[in-house]
């Protein structure tokens, strides 16, 4: 069991969706203010302002690199500014950066910001960018590779080798939608979804239909991180980082460490086990499973790895409704990329911020009553890496 050193004390978020007139600067400033207010701290006590790169590059990145965010937020005591990015794993790598800064003793408060506005780019620009994000320019893109095709190949392989049905794959989208309908900031919060709807939607990359593919959107969120010691003094309900673990596999999907798509748990499960062990907890202690999949198949692969179901049987678990609101294994409670909306590096941030809200009892209609501990994951690129975090609103005994 590791010493509990860090905690999150406040979060801020804006609605996710297509908001072309809301700039990424406005998103960043707004979510920062909300997070500072939620944490109840003096903005001038923030000693570091970190942000995740705005994916596809833009003026925002240049401005962030050179200090626009602490100036605009009015963080007069800021000493350190940095942009961190590792694709969909950014929410984790930025947190490790924040932990390093807090560990150094330079400051007690780090403000972490994510802002993204995809709607400023054309559909073709987005398709091209994501083809390159998920695929190798030299070896894959010349073949017409796309991100959806990557997820489709993984889905096809997973189904073929585990016997998971396409209805079970679709049921992940349905479960996400049920959660999103309880979330005021979710992009798809108004329209219920059935397995039939998902299967009948336009075929994009067989076996993936349109409703199995996430939708790029505009949004952002922020949080305040501090030391566990400080958190106890300034916050009535801090959320502690109890255990974390990571691993990296590859750049190109052809060099996937596990080789077998149906056995992704061979890569993911040891990471989860390490995170559980560091927290001194196990799967049975988890009240929520904040899975970041971005595509249904990835969610199934993670559920296969978290110790709650026999690997390869996650499709049946989701189909049973047990991961939906009211189920035994509440999963992806903000609706995740598929129904909350995909904000580039921000999906992991929105899942993380929702994790904190759940443990602070601030998730409104989506609140899982009495939640104490949860497991959260993220990862980026073409399934390149995975990071698992155990969070809790209490430190499990023995208290260190």
């Amino acid at each position: 069991m590791s010493k509990v050193e860090f905690a999150i004390i406040g979060t801020g978020e804006v609605p996710c969706g297509i908001y072309p007139h809301r700039s990424e600067f406005e998103i960043a400033y707004r979510v920062a203010k909300l997070a500072i207010e939620d944490a109840g701290i003096d903005k001038n006590e923030i000693g570091a302002v970190l942000n995740a790169a705005h994916i596809m590059g833009s003026e925002f990145n240049t401005e962030a690199f050179f200090g626009r965010l602490p100036e605009a937020v009015g963080a007069k005591g800021c000493k350190i500014v940095a942009t961190t990015v590792s694709g969909g794993g950014s929410s984790f790598s930025i947190r490790k950066t924040a932990e390093g800064i807090l560990h150094s003793g330079e400051t007690d408060y780090v403000l972490v910001i994510h802002a993204q506005r995809f709607s400023q780019f054309t559909a073709n620009e987005q398709i091209n960018f994501f083809a390159h994000a998920g695929s190798d320019l030299e070896w894959e893109v010349p073949y017409g590779m796309t991100y959806n095709a990557l997820a489709a190949m993984m889905t096809q392989g997973y189904m073929a080798y585990t016997g998971t049905t396409i209805e079970q794959v679709a049921s992940v989208c349905v479960a996400c939608r049920r959660w999103a309908m309880l979330q005021p900031n979710a992009m798809f919060r108004d329209k219920p979804l059935t397995v039939e709807d998902v299967l009948k939607s336009r075929m994009v990359a067989y076996p993936l239909t349109a409703l199995m593919c996430n939708v790029l959107a505009d949004g952002g969120c922020a949080y305040i991180m501090t030391t566990a010691e400080k958190a106890r003094k300034v916050c009535s309900r801090p959320v502690y980082v109890l255990g974390e673990a990571s691993d990296f596999s590859h750049r190109s999907i052809i060099n996937l460490k596990t080789k077998n798509i149906d056995k992704m748990y061979e890569f993911y499960a040891p990471i989860a086990q390490k995170a559980y062990a560091r927290a001194g907890l196990g799967p049975k202690d988890m009240d929520i499973f904040e899975v970041y999949g971005a595509y249904p198949v990835t969610s199934l692969m993670f559920l296969d790895s978290l110790g709650i179901v026999e690997p390869g049987r996650s499709g049946a678990l989701v189909e049973s409704g047990e991961t939906s609101p009211g189920g035994k294994y509440p999963t992806s409670t903000n609706g995740e990329a598929m129904s909350f909306g995909h904000t580039g590096t921000g999906v992991g941030f929105s899942v993380f911020v929702e994790s904190v809200r759940q443990l602070q009892g601030k998730s409104g209609k989506a609140q899982v009553e009495g939640a104490r501990f949860l497991v959260e994951n993220c990862g980026g690129g073409a399934f390149m890496d995975a990071h698992v975090t155990i969070l809790g609103n209490e430190i499990p005994s023995p208290v260190l």
Binding site: T122, A123, N124, I127, N128, A131, S135, D136, L137, E138, W139, E140, V141, P142, Y143, G144, M145, T146, N148, A149, L150, A152, M153, M154, T155, Q156, G157, A160, Y161, R202, M203, V204, A205, Y206, P207, L208, A210, C213, S252, I253, I254, N255, L256, K259, I261
Partner: protein, 153 residues
């Protein structure tokens, strides 16, 4: 591509003529032998002379032992289909006229896995584990892409 379709897309989606150009591999010094061989319709792989590891994609030095003492070997030209997808919608403009087309993970008996297209086959006939053989698509005067087709029994 049909010129009317291209004009419609240009107007509707505000894209430019260059958006319809197919992306081609730009070889690095360490991968150039692969593409030079592909141009001659030969499939070769980079093999370390010291530890025997085959790297695909090839890099500057062996990713297993860091040796720069490497050879290029002829691949058998055979593979098996591991998993696949059929792109039907939402692809870069340059690939719209190819729709639907198959992307696949193919396993070479030499060890590496590759991403490529499966050609010469109705996507409905695809089966995980089916045997494939390499074919070369001369996509430009300079570039040939190795692709795969099912072996006829």
């Amino acid at each position: 591509m049909d010129s009317n379709m291209r004009e419609t897309l240009k107007q509707k989606l505000k894209c430019k003529d260059e958006d319809f150009l197919k992306p081609l591999p730009v070889p690095a010094p360490w991968s150039k032998p692969f593409w030079d061989a592909a141009k001659r319709h030969r499939l070769i792989l980079k093999k370390c002379k010291d530890c025997g590891h085959i790297d695909h994609p090839p890099y500057l030095y062996c990713t297993s032992c860091s040796s720069e003492n490497c050879d290029w070997i002829d691949a058998s030209g055979r593979a098996t289909l591991y998993a696949y997808a059929v792109n039907e919608y939402g692809v870069p403009f340059a690939f719209i006229e190819d729709l639907p087309y198959v992307l696949a993970l193919v396993d070479l008996p030499e060890g590496p896995r590759m991403i490529s297209n499966i050609v010469g086959c109705d996507p409905k006939e695809l089966r995980n584990g089916m045997e494939l053989e390499v074919v070369f698509d001369d996509v430009s005067a300079e570039v040939s892409l190795p692709k795969w087709k099912p072996v006829l029994k």
